[in-house]
């Protein structure tokens, strides 16, 4: 049970199964979920399955790169042939962070077009902006909800992340839920922007995203 959904390196046949067309099988999205928390992997798998997505859940950025065949070894060894339509990664992971994974994916000429969504339990503006600037499609606050996944799926299905940005996903506003989590006294090491209400920032971020989009 503990390994449900976890994908480790598969031993593949010698021939590369390069299924690159969009109809990778009945127009179901295939999502690669990356999270070091076992609980979160189980939950995200369930969210995605309910949303009729295929899921491959891995425990680290390194595993994710291996799965994609980007781990420095020849692509024929790692690539499993099933096209990934979306990558959802936790931000804070030991070893390679979600941000570092995002960068590696965006640096790859093969995979840079796959939308990457970063998830985090912390609503830190600089973190969010850093990810968006690096090309993340969106930033979700954990715990991720079914509505987030459905919105994400709709967005991806509409244009594979290529549309003009009008239907940009809004980061879910969950600031009030996390008020109970933070200590009564402000964290000394915390980012000073954390008390920001998300409602004041999405428009700023959407315009930033729109600007970033024009970079492509």
């Amino acid at each position: 049970m503990a390994t449900v959904g976890e994908v480790f390196r598969r031993s593949l046949p010698e021939t590369i199964d390069q299924v690159r067309d969009d109809s990778s099988s009945s127009s179901e999205l295939h999502v690669l979920a990356v999270d070091d928390s076992l609980v979160d992997r189980k939950v995200i798998e369930r969210l995605l399955k309910i949303s009729s997505c295929k899921v491959t859940a891995v425990e680290s950025g390194t595993r994710a790169l291996q799965y994609l065949g980007l781990d420095g070894e020849r692509a024929s060894v790692g690539f499993n042939g099933l096209k990934v339509n979306l990558i959802m990664t936790d931000y804070s992971m030991p070893g390679m962070t979600g941000y570092e994974l995002l960068k590696k994916i965006k640096e790859s000429s093969v995979f840079r077009e796959i939308p990457v969504v970063v998830m985090s339990s912390e609503n830190i503006l600089t973190r969010i902006d850093r990810c968006l600037e690096e090309g993340a499609e969106d930033f979700l606050l954990k715990p991720v909800k079914l509505d987030d996944v459905k919105r994400l799926k709709d967005f991806i299905m509409k244009g594979d992340g290529k549309d003009g940005g009008e239907t940009r996903i809004h980061k879910r506003k969950r600031q009030d839920d996390y008020a109970s989590l933070s200590s009564p006294s402000p964290f000394p090491a915390c980012d000073p922007s954390s008390p920001l209400m998300p409602s004041s920032s999405p428009s700023a971020r959407s315009s930033k995203r729109a600007k970033l989009r024009n970079k492509d």
Binding site: S37, V39, R46, P94, P143, L146, L181
Partner: protein, 162 residues
């Protein structure tokens, strides 16, 4: 009738998890994800949570107890345990435990080992309370075969005064 009193017991235990501030609405979100295709989803996630958390709590304790006063914190392991425990807690909707874990993480970021040691007993106590209540609750829940059309008590307990 035996059936309904068990139902009542289940409903009341479930309600107390919220009333005692142990769980928040994230737990309800998990319950919503349960259906005939995966009727034991919540139970399974909680089992994963309890198993994983035990490792993390033990790991935290052992890391802290084995560290000498001027020894640098084991950046890789201790931080990993703390973070995974926090993630797991947030994922199932635990309320009190992640607050203590967050305090420990703050100390960890500041290199304050003594601070972490001070918070550890409270964190463990909160975790034990949560663990016991969750185990007791799930012990009462029947195991449902996938595909069975059933009304899991957790979803049907509209009489629990929520």
């Amino acid at each position: 009738m035996a059936g309904s009193s068990l139902q009542q017991q289940i409903a009341s235990m479930r309600q107390s998890l919220f009333d005692e501030g142990l769980l928040n609405e994230q737990f309800i979100e998990l319950e919503k994800l349960e259906d005939a295709s995966d009727p034991n989803f919540v139970k399974n996630v909680i089992n994963v949570f309890l198993t994983d958390s035990l490792k993390n709590v033990t790991g935290i304790e052992e890391s802290l107890l084995h560290l000498k006063a001027d020894e640098p914190l084991d950046i890789t392991e201790l931080g990993k345990f703390l973070h995974r425990l926090k993630s797991g807690c947030l994922g199932i909707g635990a309320k009190k435990v992640p607050i203590e874990v967050e305090k420990m993480l703050q100390c960890y970021e500041a290199g304050d080992m003594e601070g972490m040691k001070t918070i550890l007993p409270t964190m463990k106590q909160e975790y034990n309370i949560l663990e016991n209540k969750l185990e007791a609750y799930f012990e009462l829940l029947p195991h449902i075969e996938p595909g069975q059309s059933s009304d899991p008590p957790s979803k049907g307990s509209t009489s629990s005064g929520e």
